[in-house]
């Protein structure tokens, strides 16, 4: 980008209007000019960014699906059928949501492998590694709860499997299973649990973790290769 273009953008009266109110210009300019080292321009350093892209795709498509989904055992499968058949491009939105979820899981694991194999978790980035592991766990929570939400036979069986697995845990098994569902076998309570986590609890958690993750990356920079 040429200097003239930069000056033109910088001199925009809209940006001046914004800066008069938010005082963000200095921070934004600093963030945009932050140098990226040559080693960070390799393809395997893009995996984290691509994970964020899939997350944003999931947020957008998820918000669209949320408009038409009914989180009840009686209405869930029927509403999914309506999304697939009646909603304008609903099938495409749901298909993209489905694929983005799968790709995000693959990318997040690949990103963690890259961080692990390049030793990027070392001092002073330990906390960011822990945040990354928490992001992995949160994403897995999204992934599993997302499969349950259609409440078709597969979703029901996944919920049953989770409850059965929790019950196998010694001492705390029944308590943990009771958090998911208060009845046996799995009923509508389990669907409510997974729905609430998928659209409220886990999004809040992942937003906080992502904010922490990116702020730390900004502050500490990308780790040098070994």
């Amino acid at each position: 980008m040429s200097e003239a273009t930069r000056e033109k953008i910088g001199g925009s009266r809209w940006l001046k209007w914004l800066d008069e109110r938010f005082r963000l210009k200095r921070w934004v300019v600093e963030a945009m000019k932050k140098p990226v080292h040559p080693w960070a321009r390799k393809w395997y350093y893009c995996l984290g960014g691509l994970t964020l892209v899939t997350f944003l795709v999931l947020v957008v498509t998820g918000l669209i699906l949320l408009q038409h989904y009914r989180p009840t055992p009686e209405g869930a499968a029927e509403s999914i059928g309506r999304i697939m058949n009646d909603v304008w491009f609903g099938w495409l939105v749901r298909g993209i949501h489905h694929w983005a979820a799968n790709v995000m899981m693959v990318l997040i694991v690949a990103h963690m492998l890259r961080v692990f194999l390049t030793g990027a978790y070392k001092k002073p980035r330990e906390l960011n590694w822990i945040a990354g592991v928490l992001l992995l766990v949160t994403t897995a929570g999204f992934y599993v709860s997302g499969f349950v939400l259609p409440w078709d036979q597969r979703g029901f069986e996944i919920a049953s499997t989770i409850v059965a697995a929790l019950k196998k845990i010694p001492l705390a098994g029944d308590l943990l299973a009771g958090i998911v569902t208060s009845v046996t076998p799995v009923g509508g309570e389990a669907l409510g649990f997974f729905y609430a986590n998928h659209v409220i609890v886990l999004p809040l958690v992942i937003l906080i973790l992502l904010l922490f993750h990116f702020v730390m990356i900004r502050r500490q920079g990308i780790a040098e290769p070994l």
């Binding site: 980008m1 963030a31 945009m32 000019k33 932050k34 140098p35 990226v36 040559p38 321009r41 893009c46 960014g49 691509l50 892209v53 899939t54 795709v57 055992p73 009686e74 869930a76 499968a77 999914i80 059928g81 999304i83 697939m84 099938w91 495409l92 749901r94 298909g95 993209i96 949501h97 694929w99 983005a100 790709v103 194999l117 030793g119 978790y121 070392k122 001092k123 980035r125 330990e126 822990i130 592991v133 992995l136 766990v137 259609p150 409440w151 078709d152 036979q153 597969r154 029901f156 069986e157 996944i158 049953s160 499997t161 059965a164 697995a165 196998k168 845990i169 010694p170 009923g187 070994l226």
Partner: protein, 367 residues
């Protein structure tokens, strides 16, 4: 020409590489990430176009439970303590991830770090393999169809063809095989497995279809044969249900199952079978039935296909009286010999897919 050479030389000359240096986040790096991200979004859209997500019908909690994956089936199959250990190991692996910076301190990757990497990788692989091994050990019913010497490498020949829940290795989770997998190879000996007698949909005088269904309905090949045994020892007395029937006699209760995993038919004592059949009936086909019920020989000669044609030329010619040379004639022999079995094999019709029309009087006899 000189100019052209100069042009080509300029075009293909090796430009000196710019020394790698820092570049600003925007626009260089940000636009590159944006481009890759857009390509990813396009790929997602294409994937959704080609393979849109499927939507199944609403769940039926009271319906037949079909395990979605081997995990659920494993949870049901494994002993509680082993399932708890497996869950604990999985949770422990995730917990271990949190402590990696603590396990591998220091400024750069050291030999210790490499050992941690190797240990984690080995732990992960061994954990999964151990889970599969434990699942395989406990999921397959012990003592029924497990025989040492099984050709493990050939599991997928039968199990891989079943469109049902299966482990990631491609082996069906229920350890069951559709009967077609057996019959696909053994149809050239239908009389040996009484396939004809028991699997045809017979037509009653009223025109109703009578499901006989030895193999598709009530019995499986593995009731008598051991599919996991070596090829030369597929019939394993003592190991199979047939062996236990022989050992238990009337006291053995034959568990009829309509499908491998659900809807068990009310159990019947084995004596209900050998009212008609001797033990070992699968060797001689219907020979033993005829011996117990002599009139069946005549009855057999009156059987026709649904289109009115007789079974075979041999039996058509023998319709006037009981044939002497077929396996369906009343024979006073006491035991099933190799020769009778051989005759049964040769006399059996080759066509197996047509419905059998039973004459009214014959139907009354059969009842």
């Amino acid at each position: 020409m000189a100019e052209k050479q100069g042009f080509l030389a300029r075009l293909f000359r090796k430009r000196p590489k710019e020394p790698p240096g820092d570049k600003p986040f925007f626009p260089d790096f940000a636009l590159f990430e944006l481009l890759v991200g857009l390509i990813l979004v396009v790929l997602l859209a294409v994937a959704a176009l080609v393979w849109p997500g499927v939507a199944g019908p609403a769940a039926d909690p009271a319906g037949d439970f079909e395990p979605e994956s081997f995990i659920r089936h494993g949870l049901d199959s494994l002993p509680d303590w082993l399932a708890a250990v497996g869950i604990g190991l999985a949770a422990g692996f995730v917990l271990l991830l949190f402590f990696i910076p603590r396990l591998d301190p220091g400024g750069r990757r050291t030999n210790k770090a490499k050992r941690v990497t190797v240990a984690l990788g080995v732990l992960f692989i061994l954990g999964w393999l151990g889970l599969y091994a434990a699942y395989g050990f406990f999921a397959i019913p012990q003592g029924s169809n497990n025989t040492p010497g099984v050709e493990w490498g050939l599991c997928y020949r039968c199990h891989g063809h079943w469109e049902g829940p299966r482990s990631p290795l491609g082996i069906s989770a229920c350890g069951a095989v559709l009967d077609e997998n057996c019959m696909a190879c053994h149809l050239d000996h239908p009389e040996l497995v009484n396939y004809f007698w028991h699997s045809q949909e017979r037509v009653s005088p009223e025109g109703d279809e009578i499901p006989a269904g030895l193999f598709p309905g009530t019995h499986r090949c593995s009731d008598c044969h051991n599919p996991h045994a070596p090829k030369t020892d597929a019939l394993t007395p003592g190991e199979t249900r047939l062996g236990r029937m022989r050992a238990g006699g009337d006291t053995y209760v034959f568990e009829y199952r309509r499908t491998p995993s659900s809807e068990p038919h009310p159990s019947l004592p084995a004596s209900t079978c050998y009212r008609c059949h001797e033990f070992g009936f699968q060797r001689g086909g219907a020979v033993e039935v005829v011996r117990e019920y002599p009139r069946c020989g005549w009855w057999a000669s009156t059987r026709r296909w649904a289109d009115g044609t007789a079974w075979s030329a041999t039996r058509r010619s023998a319709r006037a009286g009981p044939p002497e040379s077929t396996a369906f004639s009343p024979r006073p022999t006491a035991t099933c010999t190799a020769s009778t079995a051989s005759r049964a094999r040769t006399a059996w019709p080759a066509t197996r897919s047509r419905s059998l029309k039973i004459e009214p009087d014959a139907w009354a006899l059969s009842r």
